[in-house]
C-alpha cells in the first residue's frame, strides 16, 4: 500500500524530468489512477483464487460435512449435489461468475442463499466499525497531540506505557476485562452481551457501548503511536521552526503548519486500521454475541459452511483492497509534492 504510494511518487518523477510540458497533468493523473485501480483489480482476482483454493484443495467439504464415518455412496451423492464432481477450474469459474453477479451460492447450513444470510449482518458490522472509527480517529489524534507536544514529559510517559500495555492485549482480553469491570463483577451498568437483541443497532444503542469500547481500545494505541511519531517529526521540522521564528503563535504553528503535514500518515494508518477492523470484529462480535459478519464467520467455520466462508473471506479482503485504494488516492490528493509529481 505504502509501496504503491511510493511508486506513484517515484514513477512520475522521471516523467517530469523528461517531458514535463508534453504530458497534460490530467492525463498523467488519470494514468496513475487507472494503473492503481488495475493493480487493485488484479489483487482482488488473486484473492478470489486464494480463497477458492484454500477452501477447495485443503480438504474435502463433503467429508467435512458428513464426518469421518460417512459411506462412500452418501459422499458421492453430496459431491454431486454440491457440484464437487466437476473440475476445479469449472467450479472456480462458476463460483466467480456467481460472485460477480451477486450470487454467493447456497449456505450448507441454512440451505438458503448466502447473500440473504449475510446481508443484514454486513449492515450490523458496518455500523459497529463505523461507530468505532468515528471514536478512534479523534481520540487517537488528541492522545498523539498531547504526547507529541510534551514529548518525554510525565504525561507522555504515562500515555506511552498505557498505549504499549493496551496494544499488547488480545481483543478478547480487553473485552472480558471491560465486561468484568462494567457489566458483571465490579459494576453492573452495561449489558454484557447482545444475545437477546434481534433488532438493528440503532434500536438499542446501549449494547453497542462495550463492543465499540473494546475495538477502540484495541486500535487507538496503533493509530496514536504512529501519529505521535509523525507529529514529533513535523513539530521538529525546519518549517515549523521557521514559523515559530517568524513569531507565529504556537497554536497556529501547530494547527496550520504541523497538522496538515501529519495528515498523510494519518490517512494511511486509519486505512490500515479500518481494514483490520473488518476482521478484528470477529473476536469482539463473538465475545459480545453481536450479530455481524464476525459471528457469522465463526459459525460458518464451525459448521464447515464453505460458501459462507468463501463469501465472508472475499468480502473482508475486498474491504482491505478498496480502503487502501481510497487511502492512496487521498494521499496523492492531499500531498502537494506528490500531486505535482503526478503531474
Amino acid at each position: 500500500m505504502s509501496r504503491s504510494a511510493a511508486e506513484a511518487a517515484a514513477v512520475p518523477a522521471t516523467i517530469m524530468s523528461r517531458r514535463r510540458e508534453a504530458r497534460p497533468a490530467v492525463r498523467a493523473w488519470t494514468r496513475w489512477l487507472l494503473r492503481r485501480i488495475g493493480l487493485a483489480l488484479i489483487t482482488l482476482w488473486l484473492i478470489s483464487l486464494l480463497v477458492f483454493a484454500a477452501t477447495h484443495f485443503l480438504g474435502d467439504p463433503a467429508r467435512a460435512i458428513l464426518g469421518r464415518s460417512a459411506t462412500p455412496e452418501r459422499l458421492a451423492a453430496l459431491r454431486t449435489e454440491l457440484g464437487l464432481d466437476r473440475s476445479a477450474v469449472r467450479q472456480y469459474v462458476s463460483w466467480l461468475g456467481g460472485v460477480l453477479t451477486g450470487d454467493f451460492g447456497t449456505s450448507l447450513a441454512t440451505k438458503g442463499p448466502v447473500s440473504a444470510l449475510i446481508g443484514g449482518k454486513i449492515v450490523n458490522s458496518t455500523v459497529l466499525v463505523a461507530v468505532s472509527a468515528v471514536i478512534i480517529a479523534p481520540v487517537s489524534a488528541v492522545i498523539a497531540l498531547v504526547s507529541a507536544r510534551r514529548r518525554d514529559s510525565a504525561t507522555d510517559n504515562v500515555l506511552q506505557v498505557a498505549l504499549l500495555t493496551t496494544a499488547a492485549l488480545p481483543e478478547f482480553v480487553i473485552g472480558i476485562l471491560l465486561v468484568t469491570l462494567f457489566s458483571t463483577v465490579v459494576l453492573t451498568w452495561l449489558p454484557s452481551v447482545a444475545v437477546s437483541w434481534t433488532g438493528s443497532p440503532w434500536t438499542d444503542p446501549v449494547v453497542m457501548i462495550l463492543p465499540v469500547a473494546t475495538l477502540a481500545l484495541a486500535v487507538v494505541p496503533y493509530v496514536a503511536r504512529i501519529l505521535r511519531a509523525s507529529l514529533i517529526e513535523v513539530l521538529e521540522s525546519d518549517y515549523v521552526d521557521m514559523a515559530r521564528l517568524k513569531g507565529v503563535p504556537e497554536w497556529s504553528a501547530v494547527a496550520r503548519h504541523a497538522l496538515g503535514n501529519a495528515v498523510v500518515p494519518a490517512i494511511q494508518v486509519m486505512a490500515l486500521q479500518l481494514a483490520w477492523l473488518a476482521g478484528g470484529v470477529v473476536v469482539v462480535e463473538s465475545l459480545f454475541l453481536y450479530p455481524g459478519i464476525g459471528t457469522a464467520l465463526v459459525d460458518a467455520v464451525r459448521n464447515r459452511d464453505v460458501p459462507v466462508i468463501q463469501a465472508l473471506a472475499l468480502l473482508i479482503a475486498a474491504v482491505y483492497v478498496v480502503v487502501n485504494l481510497i487511502a492512496d488516492v487521498l494521499t496523492i490528493l492531499v500531498t502537494p509534492k506528490l500531486r505535482t509529481g503526478v503531474r
Binding site: A54, G59, A168, V173, I176, A278, V282
Partner: protein
C-alpha cells in the same frame, strides 16, 4: 552470539560495516521495561512448563459442583464441569506457549527468507513475492487463520502453520525494506566485487545487519502469536476439546463470569501477562535498535 558479529573479512579497509550491534542490544538490556517484560514472560512461561507437574488435581478430575467458588481443596473454585480451575490453569499454558513460539519462528524464517530474496534479487522475483504478500496481507490475521483452519480442522500442527503463514508477509515487507536499503551499501558491493556467493552475501553480510530490528519484530510477532493462538481457543476451536487450554477455558466458562469469575479471569490474566511481557521486550529491543535508548537510560 556469532550472529551479532560484524562481517569483517570483506569490508576491512574498504568501507566500515554499520556500527556493531552489541552495544545496542545491551542498550535494550539497560532499559527497565525490557527487564519487567522479561520477568513477566519468564513467570508465565515457567507456569506453563512447570505447572503441569505442580497441579494438585488432574486436568479432567471432577472435584466439586460446577461453577463453585468455594469447593473444598480448590484455590480458585471449579469450572463448568466441576474441574479444578487452579489445576487447569497450571496445566493449560504449555499449548499456548509452545504453539505461539513455533508459529512465530516459522513466520520469521519464511518472512525473512522471502524478504531477503525479494529485496536482493529485485526484478520479477521481487514483484512476484511482494504480490503474493499483498494478497495474503489483505486478510486480517484471525480471518486467514480461521479460513485455513475451517477445512482441515484445528489440528495442532495446522495452527502452527497457519499462524506462521499469517505472519510471514508482514515480516517479509520489513525485511525487504531493510534489504533494499543495505544492498547498495559499500560493504555489500565490495563483497559482490570479491565474488562472494549470493547465499553468503544474504546470510553473512545482509542478515547480521538487520538483527536488531528483526529481534524486535520477533518479539512483536510473539505477542501477536500469543493473541492469535489464544483467540483460536477462545473462539472454541481446539484439537482436543477436553484438554486444559487457556484460550479454551475462557470459552468454556464465559457464561459464568458473574457467578465464578476466576474460571475466566485466571486464564485471561495469564494470557494478558504473557502478551504484555513479550511486547515490553519487543519494545525495549526496538527502542534500543532505533537508538532511542538514551531516553530510557535516563529513567532506569
Amino acid at each position: 552470539m556469532a550472529v551479532f558479529e560484524v562481517p569483517r573479512k570483506a569490508t576491512a579497509g574498504i568501507a566500515a560495516a554499520p556500527a556493531a550491534r552489541r552495544p545496542r542490544l545491551r542498550g535494550a538490556l539497560a532499559s527497565g521495561r525490557t527487564w519487567v517484560g522479561g520477568a513477566l514472560t519468564t513467570l508465565v512461561t515457567g507456569v506453563a512448563f512447570l505447572g503441569p507437574f505442580l497441579a494438585p488435581h488432574g486436568e479432567n478430575d471432577i472435584v466439586g459442583a460446577p461453577y463453585s467458588d468455594s469447593a473444598p481443596a480448590t484455590l480458585l473454585g471449579t469450572d463448568y464441569l466441576g474441574q479444578d480451575v487452579w489445576s487447569r490453569l497450571l496445566a493449560g499454558g504449555t499449548w499456548v506457549v509452545v504453539t505461539a513460539v513455533l508459529a512465530t519462528l516459522l513466520g520469521m524464517v519464511l518472512g525473512v527468507a522471502a524478504g531477503l530474496a525479494a529485496g536482493y534479487a529485485r526484478g520479477w522475483a521481487d514483484e512476484v513475492i511482494m504480490r503474493v504478500c499483498d494478497v495474503i496481507l489483505a486478510f486480517p490475521q484471525i480471518v486467514l487463520v480461521l479460513v485455513l483452519l475451517s477445512v482441515a480442522g484445528p489440528e495442532r500442527w495446522l495452527v502452527v502453520v497457519v499462524v506462521g503463514v499469517s505472519h510471514a508477509p508482514r515480516v517479509a515487507r520489513l525485511t525487504r525494506g531493510m534489504t533494499t536499503g543495505l544492498a547498495t551499501r559499500e560493504f555489500v558491493q565490495s563483497a559482490e566485487t570479491l565474488g562472494e556467493s549470493r547465499t553468503r552475501i544474504l546470510l553473512r553480510e545482509l542478515l547480521p545487519n538487520m538483527s536488531a530490528p528483526l529481534l524486535a519484530e520477533l518479539g512483536l510477532r510473539l505477542t501477536y502469536s500469543v493473541g492469535l493462538v489464544a483467540s483460536i481457543g477462545f473462539l472454541g476451536f481446539a484439537s482436543d476439546p477436553s484438554a486444559a487450554d487457556w484460550g479454551l477455558m475462557i470459552n468454556e466458562n464465559r457464561l459464568a463470569l458473574a457467578v465464578q469469575p476466576w474460571a475466566i479471569l485466571a486464564p485471561v490474566l495469564a494470557i494478558a501477562v504473557l502478551a504484555l511481557g513479550t511486547n515490553l521486550i519487543a519494545d525495549g529491543i526496538s527502542r534500543a535498535a532505533a537508538g532511542a535508548d538514551h531516553t530510557e537510560g535516563a529513567s532506569s
